[in-house]
C-alpha cells in the first residue's frame, strides 16, 4: 500500500506529463469503445433495416442485388416482373400481405418508389415498427401525390403542398424530366434511420401515369402527348413492377413458398429471405468494420507506447529518487513494483477518463446520431465484451509497465546508493 502511495505521489510530482499520458490513453480508450458501440449498433440497425417481411421477390438476379435495390435503393433491377405474377402470389392463401414496388425514377438524386397503400400499412423496420407520418397523409386516389421520406423533405426543404417534378432514370442529374406532370407533396414520413428516409413514395398509378405516353424510353412528341388531366381519367393499372414484398400467415411456409417462387413457370423470379441476404451483405461490409476495429486497437497501442516512452524517459532523471529509496531500505523489487504501479495507475486513470469521455460524448451526440444515422447509441453500462477489452488494455499496460520496471530494477542494482547528479 505504501508503494502505491509513493507511486501516486511521484506521478503527482510529474503531473503534467502524467496528465498528458493518461489523456492520450483516455482518448484511445474512448475511440476504441466508441467504434465498438457504433459497430455493434450499426450491425443491429443494419439488420433491422427491414423487419417483418418474410420474402422479397424480384426478377432473377443475385440475392444481394435484389436486396440492394429493393431495400437500400442502390443499383438497378435487371428486369421487371409482370403484374400478373404479383397478383398471383398476393392472392395466395399463405400470404398475409403483399407490397408491390416500382422503381426507376428519381428526384434530385433521391429515388422514387411507386407502391400502394399496403406499403404504409405493412412495411416494417427496426423492432417491427411501422412507418409513421410526421405530417400530412398518405397518397390517395389522385395519381400525382407524393409522400416524402424525412431526409428528402429536410434536405430539399419541401413542405406540404409543394409541387415537384420527377426525373426519368436514377442519375443525379437527369436530362429527361417528367415536367408535364408535377407531383404535390401530401405527406412527410417520420425519420426511420433507414433508406425509407431517402425515398419519395408515389402510387403505382402515378408511376404509370408519368410513363403512359412513353415509348422505347423516350416521351412522345406533339399530338402523342397525354396531359396530366387526361392521364387522371385513364386506367392506370401497371403492367409491370420491379419487385414485391411478402408477409406470410405462417413463417413455417417461408421456405416452401420461396422454393415455389423460384420455380415459378410464368417468368423467372427470385425470392429471398431478407435476414439471410442482409447477413450476406453485412459479411461484405464486415471487412471495413473489422478494419476500423483494428485501427482503433492500434490507437490504443499507440497510447500505451506513449506511456511506456514517458515512463522510460523519466527513469534517468529519477535515478536519484531510486537511490534515495534504496538508501532508506527499498529493495530492488520495490523499485520495480513502483514502476509497475505507476503504469497501472496511468492506464487506470486513462481508462476511467476514457469511459467518462465516451459517456459524455454519447450523451451529447445521442440525439444527433439517432436523427441523422438512425443509430441509437445506448448510454449503457459497458457490456461484458467491453469490460473484456478494458481488461486487455489494463493487462497490456501491466506488460508494458514491466519493461521500465525491469530496467529500473537493473539500474537500482547497479547504481546502489550512489546518487547521480
Amino acid at each position: 500500500m505504501y508503494l502505491l502511495r509513493l507511486a501516486l505521489a511521484s506521478l503527482a510530482n510529474r503531473r503534467f506529463t502524467a496528465f498528458l499520458t493518461a489523456f492520450a490513453i483516455a482518448l484511445s480508450v474512448c475511440l476504441l469503445l466508441a467504434v465498438e458501440r457504433v459497430r455493434t449498433e450499426a450491425r443491429a440497425s443494419f439488420a433491422s433495416t427491414i423487419s417483418g417481411t418474410d420474402l422479397i421477390v424480384g426478377a432473377r438476379s443475385g440475392s444481394v442485388n435484389l436486396l440492394l435495390y429493393s431495400v437500400f435503393r442502390i443499383g438497378n433491377a435487371t428486369n421487371n416482373i409482370r403484374w400478373e405474377s404479383f397478383e398471383h402470389y398476393a392472392s395466395d392463401k399463405r400470404v398475409k400481405w403483399a407490397i408491390p414496388i416500382s422503381l426507376g425514377d428519381s428526384h434530385r438524386g433521391y429515388r422514387v418508389m411507386g407502391t400502394d397503400a399496403r406499403y404504409f400499412e405493412h412495411y416494417q423496420y427496426g423492432r417491427k415498427q411501422n412507418l409513421q407520418l410526421a405530417e400530412g397523409r398518405a397518397f390517395a386516389s389522385d395519381p400525382f401525390e407524393v409522400v416524402l421520406g424525412a431526409e428528402v423533405a429536410d434536405a430539399l426543404h419541401y413542405k406540404l403542398g409543394d409541387k415537384l417534378v420527377l426525373a426519368h432514370g436514377v442519375a443525379a442529374i437527369s436530362l429527361v424530366k417528367h415536367d408535364d406532370k408535377p407531383f404535390t407533396v401530401v405527406g412527410v414520413l417520420q425519420r426511420t434511420g433507414t433508406p425509407v428516409d431517402r425515398t419519395l413514395h408515389i402510387s403505382l398509378g402515378g408511376m404509370e401515369a408519368i410513363h403512359i405516353d412513353w415509348h422505347n424510353g423516350m416521351p412522345a412528341r406533339g399530338a402523342g402527348r397525354i396531359s396530366a388531366e387526361q392521364a387522371r381519367n385513364m386506367d392506370l393499372k401497371p403492367a409491370a413492377i420491379t419487385a414485391f414484398m411478402l408477409g406470410l400467415n405462417n413463417k413455417v411456409a417461408t421456405f416452401s413458398l420461396q422454393r415455389e417462387i423460384n420455380d415459378y413457370r410464368g417468368e423467372p423470379l427470385l425470392a429471398i429471405l431478407p435476414g439471410v441476404a442482409l447477413q450476406e451483405l453485412w459479411s461484405l461490409m464486415g471487412t471495413a468494420e473489422q478494419a476500423l476495429f483494428v485501427v482503433s486497437l492500434f490507437v490504443v497501442l499507440t497510447g500505451l507506447i506513449g506511456m511506456l516512452t514517458a515512463i522510460l524517459t523519466s527513469l534517468n532523471e529519477r535515478r536519484r529518487e531510486m537511490a534515495i529509496l534504496r538508501s532508506v531500505g527499498a529493495r530492488p523489487w520495490h523499485i520495480a513494483g513502483l514502476l509497475v504501479l505507476e503504469a497501472l495507475a496511468l492506464a487506470l486513470a486513462g481508462i476511467v477518463a476514457g469511459l467518462g469521455l465516451l459517456y459524455a460524448g454519447i450523451a451529447l451526440a445521442q440525439g444527433y446520431v439517432q436523427a441523422n444515422y438512425g443509430l441509437l447509441l445506448p448510454l449503457a453500462w459497458p457490456s461484458a465484451h467491453e469490460w473484456a477489452l478494458l481488461g486487455i488494455i489494463l493487462g497490456a499496460a501491466l506488460l508494458m509497465g514491466s519493461v521500465p520496471a525491469w530496467r529500473a530494477y537493473r539500474q537500482s542494482l547497479a547504481d546502489g546508493l550512489s546518487i547521480h547528479l
Partner: protein, 239 residues
Amino acid sequence: MSQALIELTDLGFAWPGQAPLLDIPALRLDAGESLFLKGPSGSGKTTLLGLLGGVQKPDRGSIRLLGQDLSELKLAARDRFRVDHTGYIFQQFNLLPFLSVRENVELPCRFSRSRAQRAAERHGSIDQAAASLLAHLGLKDPALLARRADSLSIGQQQRVAAARALIGQPELVIADEPTSALDADTREAFIRLLFAECRAAGSSLLFVSHDQSLAPLFDRQLSLAELNRAAQPGNDLEA
C-alpha cells in the same frame, strides 16, 4: 574495549575490467564512536560506502557489520540488514521532493520493521519520533512537517536528512559529504547537532569528507588514501 561495529579485514575490490580500486588491510569502527574518513573524490570512497551498505560484494576479504559477515547474506537479506542498522545522509538532494518533510523522515520505518518498532518504543509513535528528532535538529515549527520537502532551504533539508538517518536508532550512521552544500557557519553547527543526536540514539558515525577542517571534531580520523594500498602512487604506475 567496546564492541566492533564495522570490521573490515583484508578487503579487495575492483570494478569489472578495471584496476583494483580498494585494497584495505583493516578498518574498524567501535560502537558509539565517530570516525572522520578523509577521502578526496575518486579515492574509492563511494565504492567503500556501497560495500558497507551491502550493495556491492567485495572480491576478497570480509566486511562485518555488528558481527555479521555481509558476504554471507543474500541480496534481499543484505538490503534488510542495511536499513535495519544503517542510516544514510548524502551530499545534498537527500529527500524525495514530492513527499512532505514528515513522510521523508519516516521513510526508513516504512521499509524496516525493526526501526519502526524502535522509533515507536522510544517516542510513543513514529510520528512523534519524527517530530521530536526534527525539533532536536532545530526544526521546531510543526507546520514545517507538512510542507513539501523541496520547499525547504538546503540547510534545513540536510537536517531533515539527518533526522531520517537517525529515526529508529540505527547502530550506524553513514554521512557522505553531508556538509559540502552548507556554508562554513552552518557546517559546524550541523555536525554538532549530528553528534548530539548520534549520541542520544547510541549510533556510531562514519563521516566521509574531503574537508580536513572538520576532522578535529571527531573521536578519530583516518585518511582513505593512506588506508587504501590500491591508491598508492606506485600502484598507479603499475596499472
